[in-house]
């Protein structure tokens, strides 16, 4: 059983049609959030070409995320980062069996429409690309394709759900090889959920609706979060994960899975690194298997981290 809380009444994404004598319905919250539930305990890997996508698939990635450049290279290159070349996305769609996701710019409904029309399995409205609209996100209830969005705190996460996101990733600072920011945000979200849960359990409705107003999100989603004691949708961690131990830490902090951006293909041992991170996510609570995963890689082969940042991607599109 999964949570369907916060579903818009009669959203445009729901399509009723006939499959011979059967009535079938596409684009429902159950089908969109359900897709995210199939990714749980898995690793989504950023890739920029078919070869990387196949390495990711063979190493046990649960899905691939196609970008023009890895976040680390976007930082280095500067300029405007947009959605990836469609030829590359389509080539990957034709050659891998696992789900294929792609990123569009925050608020860029037309980029999302393009990705939707070439049938990517999920769209990431992502702060890694240059935002097209700092104030307004895409109205995701119009899309049959499910969306994932980044969030740094509970309010952002629930606001993205309100706009129709079927999955959340708690964002760190992408392309840095440093998990510190992701850990900060994950712990903040965990604390905020504990706080909402305690209000819910106390039965204090006045306080619960006050909380909803503070978080700038409607009551039903805050109520559901308090009742479940977790986000109502699947919640992954992202940003700066570079080693199996990083991934295991995220899982032990209560995430449903992880996104690895530059961490795999900016390392000098991508196939082993990918396999080791997958192993560490499955066995995150077993230190001896995480150690086994950690032995599969060499720290001298990890991506180089970045410390001084001119660009704080996490601060994009937080309204």
């Amino acid at each position: 059983m999964i949570s369907l809380a916060g579903t818009m009444s009669d959203p445009r994404c729901v399509v009723h049609e006939k499959n011979k004598e059967y009535d079938v319905t596409r684009g429902t919250t159950l089908v969109k959030r359900g897709f995210a539930h199939m990714l749980k305990h898995g690793v989504v890997m950023d890739v920029t070409n078919l070869e990387q996508a196949q390495t990711a698939e063979d190493s046990g990635a649960v899905a691939v995320m196609v970008l023009e450049k890895l976040p680390y290279d976007i930082r280095k290159a500067g300029g405007v980062a947009r959605t990836a070349s469609l030829e590359i996305i389509e080539e990957i769609l034709d050659h891998v069996t696992i789900p294929v996701m792609a990123k569009c710019r925050i608020g860029h409904t037309s980029e999302a429409n393009v990705l939707d029309s070439i049938n990517v399995d999920m769209i990431d409205e992502s702060e890694v690309l240059t935002p097209a609209d700092e104030e307004r996100h895409i109205w995701k209830w119009d899309f049959v394709t499910p969306f994932v969005n980044g969030a740094r705190n509970l309010g952002e996460a629930l606001r993205r759900m309100e706009e129709g996101a079927a999955m959340i990733r708690i964002k760190g600072e992408p392309g840095t090889g440093n998990v510190a920011e992701a850990i900060n945000h994950l712990k903040l979200v965990n604390n905020q959920i504990r706080w909402v849960k305690s209000i819910y359990e106390s039965g204090d409705q006045q306080e619960l609706i006050k909380t909803a107003r503070e978080l700038k999100v409607y009551y039903e989603l805050v109520h559901e979060t308090g009742k479940l004691g977790r986000l109502p949708v699947v919640n992954f961690a992202a940003g700066g994960i570079a080693t199996p131990a990083d991934a295991a830490l995220m899982m032990n902090l209560g995430c449903d899975g992880v996104f690895v951006g530059s961490g795999v293909f900016k390392s000098k041992d991508p196939a082993e690194r990918a396999r080791s991170i997958v192993l560490a996510v499955t066995f995150h609570d077993n230190p001896s298997i995480v150690a086994e995963a950690q032995k599969m890689i060499g720290e001298n082969k990890s991506m180089e981290g970045l410390e001084q940042l001119d660009l704080r991607m996490q601060e994009r599109g937080t309204a």
């Binding site: 059983m1 004598e21 059967y22 429902t28 990714l39 046990g60 990635a61 394709t145 499955t282």
Partner: protein
Amino acid sequence: MKELTVGIVGIQGDVEEHKRSLEHAFRDMDLNGNIRWIRSPKELVSIDGLIIPGGESTVISNILSSRQMFQPIKDLINKGLPVLGTCAGLIILAKKNYDKVVGEKEQPKLGVMNVTVERNFFGRQKESFEAELEIQKLGNKKFKGVFIRAPSIIEVGSDVQILSKLNDLAVAVQEGNIIGTTFHPELICDIRLHKYFLTTIISNQ
């Protein structure tokens, strides 16, 4: 009533969703039940039933294979252990599987159920859907089938019973102690399929 222990393969996928459905079914049937996550061969000891959840079949089967879990699971199923596989779980149980786009791919599998399964049969996520299914074993009330990048059962062996069809496609099948569905009963509140699986376990005791 003896205590029942049902294992859920806890490698990847919607493990907690199956757990919740099972807990609900235990309560509904007034059973004394335990649920165990299975990630190593030693955790298979003295389970009464096993669920292989939905998720990505390539991920689940790779880790089952690298952790040497295929043979012990296969031995238990061949000895009559009741098993339920949903979507990815069914793909892993099937004798033969291939992908709609990529074709046949070397993918380790249990291969204990006499069916051929085509992966991603309906297409990508945009083609995922819900449909109200007739499953006679679960009574007259329709059962909501949630099909997510679902496979399809292309061929069934002579010993395989078809529990439900969508048009001319089998979507739920049973071969003795093995039950497989191409949809996800664990995503909805309706627990009749989990109760049916528990009944299979009890009659196997």
